[in-house]
Symmetry: C2
Subunit: 250 residues, 2 copies
DNA sequence: ATGTAATTATTTTCATGAGAATATTCCTGC
DNA sequence: GCAGGAATATTCTCATGAAAATAATTACAT
């Protein structure tokens, strides 16, 4: 049956029933809210690659019609976070090996550039604030909660990018980081818990010492550590694909 | 009256009237075709910043309903090529001073990175092909046609990026270049015709000589030249805004 | 004639229904 | 019991109509 309370036909009810939304509604643009909701859900691994996205479900969760959901899905697709197969539906994207490599490389280069910018642009106060963020990471690291960890860890890099003072590059990096969370979700094989919080702290230290080369070196090391958790063998795609799973049991 | 031949209600007519499209329809996804059409139109300056986009017009030009046009406009907006003002319509974006500066900076950094990648990735053949592109530019440069010039000039940088072998960075750069064409259209004050073709050729030369530093330096010079055509005084916004024009007459 | 109010016309925005394509279930025959 | 296929149910896809908002035009008054 699936009788869901879609928004009623009475157009005179402007935004009567804002259902479960919960989160901050800085933008009252529903399309944008949906986009952000899905993007962060993907970014923090709540939505795994390959999962099917039901536009109907989203539609009545947000109390709007499929049309506006569709808008959000469209831009998410253009950001490579979703894939729409014609007449089949839309799914959380499953980046391939090539794409993963390109993303890692792009991120490495970008983080380098961003450190450069931060050094020439960020104030001491801002660096202090950034350091506080690493404190928070440290704290979370000891008090479990796997999700918060990855979220915080990603946040560091975005905040760092913001300190570079270039909104364009910040946006680019955040999108790449989001896509990389899909890559990790697909290909990560060992989640070693040495946790980047320490790396982050060291990077901030180098920045405060105005030592760009050191900061870049530390960043390289940090990123290499992340990439090291992943096996991108050209052999077969991801090990989550059904056939690959079977192979492990043969 | 404006009786426009929207696609008829008969769903049985699949793509009866494909009107004037002209261009290559590699993707038969109409949404994507619309997106590309508008993006290139903006990229080559045919659509100036601030121009209003009538979705109805586009809809019946492509023989589809407003819904699919709307999808294309949505992703174009998320790419910062269009702006949608609520209930007012969608317009070609008018990047502000801050955005322009960020775009220039981002491009500078990216082109550096890309040169790095090209040097480590491109084959001699590919560099030859790139050089041929500069020949073409040279030829176009002498045989007028303002539009072809700017198109070709932008193309060089995108092709160069492709030789870097990183699809992610290529996509990022193309989007930035597209946005920069809006910036130029808004703020360019002197179109000096010394033309980048020569710069481009020099860059290819440095690349063939495997001289990264030289290539980067030449690229810097080239980009500085482009940025030099623009006046980004923090004083008042763009000189096209009505109030700014008035100020020039006070 | 100019400014203001009212009416009309465009245009955006969105919900919804119908059609098409795919997935699922059920049934039948071997 | 199981393969194959018909019947049913989901779900996407898109055109369209209706409501809301803005723009344009006319009418009117000072």
């Amino acid at each position: 049956m699936k009788k869901t309370t879609r928004r009623q036909g009475t157009k005179t009810a402007p935004k009567a029933n804002a259902p479960v939304d919960t989160a901050e509604n800085a933008h009252d643009d529903v399309t944008e809210r949906i986009r952000i909701t899905l993007a962060t859900a993907i970014g923090e691994g709540a939505l795994k690659p390959g999962v099917k996205i039901l536009e109907d479900a989203i539609a009545d969760h947000f109390g709007v019609s499929r049309t506006v959901v569709r808008g959000a899905l469209g831009v998410l697709e253009s950001d490579h976070l979703l894939e729409r197969k014609k007449n089949r539906g839309t799914f959380v994207a499953e980046p391939g090996i090539e794409e993963a490599k390109a993303l890692f490389e792009a991120r490495r280069k970008l983080e380098h550039v961003i450190l450069e910018l931060v050094l020439g642009h960020a104030t001491a106060d801002q660096l202090d604030a950034l350091e506080k963020l690493t404190d928070e990471e440290e704290h979370i690291h000891h008090h479990g909660d796997e999700k918060s960890k990855t979220v915080l860890s990603g946040k560091f890099h975005v905040v760092l990018a913001e300190l570079g003072g270039n909104a364009v590059l910040t946006e680019v990096l955040s999108k790449i980081v989001a896509r990389l969370s899909l890559v990790m979700s697909l290909y990560e094989e060992e989640r070693k818990d040495d946790c980047g919080a320490d790396h982050h702290r060291q990077i901030v230290g180098a920045l405060k010492a105005k030592d760009l080369a050191k900061a870049q070196q530390l960043m390289d090391h940090h990123l290499a550590d992340i990439e090291g958790r992943v096996r991108l063998t050209e052999g077969q795609g991801d090990r989550h694909t059904f056939l690959a799973v079977l192979e492990n049991f043969s």
